[in-house]
């Protein structure tokens, strides 16, 4: 045989699972991100007393497909003096970072892409911050004054909030003791409780930091429409813009997955070790079946025949899913599948809740001004995160060396951190009051040519 073929075949034989998973991620995740966009539009519409996309496909379900097609067939406009190579590279870099980060996450005990990297969490967080490169390159390559300003702002914002988020993750990692994704969730199972109940402030800080990291409202000044500078994405049209946009939503999924893994118990059900709560194992199947029943009920109320069929189709899909989820419970030999299937269900549920929170916050709150944003990151979140790390560390020492009750120790942690938070906010208020009573902005001089 040709000497080069053999090593290649050996490689494929060893790594074919991971390769297939990689291909699936690159193929499927953009589609999922597209449907996440549709979900957001529908949720936004619901909170704003309107309907959202309804035209394309039943209830607007084909909207992402239509959007993708439209963006693909759009004219590709490249600004005159833009650096062509980097202009091409920037959105690709952003999307690549997000997709690669997806490769490190596990949706269930057996759904791993990479073979459980020993620095799993660090890998995910680190690679997803490579998206910064895409933003910076995009701003630079556009050769537009306003794009650079937007890119710089966005970069500064991301860097600041990565720090705060990373520190918050450290508190969780102290409790887990390891960076391996699977081991983190196993540690939570071993503890018998999700880490959020032991270190709630850490999740809270990470929540705010991740909203800022993904450039979502209320931290979306760099890319807001009603701002002077439309941001680093201005000059990108058509599919290049779509890559940026999908990269942002994929980042949301990644960040949600990190939070779920570390704080919300990953693929564990609530109360994972409590025996009398074992009935919770039936919840995934029952939940899906209940959704199916609701669809059947609504199918009767649809005005148009094609809508009735559609609802029935959705109902049948739900019942099929319920069957799959319920199989391990009903058929004894299939019991080994339960942690995997149910785990996937719980994981997806938790990510959905996290992302729902993102969207809810976006529709409700106004936008922070850039200096207020940076102030929040550096003056409030980072000190709070540092104090939290120290407090969790102290609590763990108290538990292991001095034999304190774990819950008592963690309660102490939370109290200390909350006290720090109150102190920081109080200082912030005092500083804001002081600056408002300070000298007013410079008075215009008498001969100002811009008077009037």
């Amino acid at each position: 045989m040709n000497p080069t073929v053999h090593p290649v075949l050996a490689f494929l034989q060893a790594w074919w699972v991971e390769l297939v998973c990689g291909v699936v991620i690159v193929a499927v995740v953009p589609l999922i991100a597209g449907y996440l966009v549709l979900m957001e539009r529908k949720l936004m519409a619901d909170m704003q007393a309107r309907l959202g996309p309804m035209r394309v496909g039943p209830h607007g379900l084909l909207q992402p497909i239509a959007d993708a097609v439209k963006l693909l067939i759009k004219e590709d406009i490249i600004p005159d003096h833009a650096d062509k190579m980097i202009f091409w590279l920037a959105p690709v870099a952003s999307m690549t970072a997000a997709l690669t980060a997806m490769g490190g996450i596990a949706f269930g005990p057996s759904f791993l892409v990479a073979r459980d990297i020993n620095v799993g969490l660090l890998f995910v967080v680190g690679v997803s911050s490579m998206g910064l490169l895409g933003i910076m390159l995009g701003g630079w390559a556009s050769n537009s004054h306003y794009s650079i300003m937007g890119a710089l702002r966005s970069t500064a914002q991301l860097v600041s909030y990565e720090t705060a988020g990373g520190l918050a993750l450290i508190s969780g990692l102290l409790l887990a003791g390891t960076l391996k994704i699977r081991a983190i969730v196993d540690a939570q199972q071993h503890f018998g409780v999700w880490f959020v109940f032991l270190a709630p402030v850490a999740l809270f800080i990470y929540l705010i930091a991740s909203i800022a990291e993904t450039n979502r409202a209320p931290f979306d000044l760099p890319e807001a429409e009603s701002e002077l500078v439309a941001g680093y994405m201005t000059e990108f049209s058509g599919f290049r813009w779509a890559l940026y946009f999908l990269g942002e939503y994929t980042n949301m999924i990644v960040v949600g997955a990190v939070a779920t893994t570390l704080f919300l118990g990953g693929w564990l059900r609530p109360f994972p070790n409590v025996r009398w709560m074992n009935w919770l194992d039936a919840v995934p199947a029952l939940f899906t079946a209940a959704v199916g029943v609701y669809c059947v009920y609504r199918a009767g109320k649809q005005p148009v025949r094609v809508q009735i069929w559609f609802m029935w189709g959705v109902a049948l899909t739900c019942f099929a899913a319920a069957l799959i989820l319920g199989l391990p419970l009903l058929v004894a030999p299939m019991k080994f599948m339960m942690p995997g299937l149910n785990g996937a269900f719980w994981f997806l549920l938790k990510i959905s809740a996290y992302i729902y929170l993102f969207m809810w916050v976006r529709f409700t709150l106004p936008r922070y001004r850039f200096d207020q944003l940076m102030h929040l990151g550096w003056y409030i979140l980072i000190p709070l995160a540092i104090v939290n790390v120290l407090a969790v560390g102290i609590a763990m020492i108290l538990e292991s060396e001095y034999g304190w009750n774990r819950w008592l120790a963690m309660l102490l942690t939370t109290v200390i951190t909350l006290a720090t938070a109150i102190l920081l906010l109080y200082l912030n208020d005092k500083r804001a009051a002081a600056s408002s009573t300070a000298a007013p902005p410079e008075e215009p001089s008498a001969e100002d040519s811009y008077a009037g």
């Binding site: 001969e447 040519s449 008077a451 009037g452």
Partner: protein, 167 residues
Amino acid sequence: MQIPLDNDLTKRYREQFGAAILDAVEDRKQAYLVIAAAQLAEIARYSRDVEKFDLLEDFTAVDWPRREKRFDLVAILYSFPHNTRLRLKIPLADGERPASLVGIWPTANWLEREIFDMFGISFSGHPDMKRILLPEEWQGHPLRKDYDILQQDTAWVRENLGIESGQ
């Protein structure tokens, strides 16, 4: 409808400025004083400081082309403490440059620019005397009675489109 006015306010103005107050009239229960352009700044300052007309509610002009002094500058003053209004009318000849009221009421800035734009009355002492509503290169002053929009339109079309306007 116009009856001559001789209330306390008019008496005070006449005392202060004598001949500069050319006429005092009440029309449909609204008072106005016709004053000489030369004393505009002093009368304005007096109105604001002594008579407490602290708001320049409006400042505009009217074109009476057949008069010798074709323009009538009209300043509408309002007093918050007294809750009264007063109109000042200043007859101006074409080309005369009245004093700007920006130093007394800063709101006059854009109002005077609009008068300049629409009537061609240039104010002396204004920090930024240029057109405000029409583009910089516009010819003519539209609110003058001898300004014909049709003529302007045909000229523009001829110049910019190179054809004869069909109007």
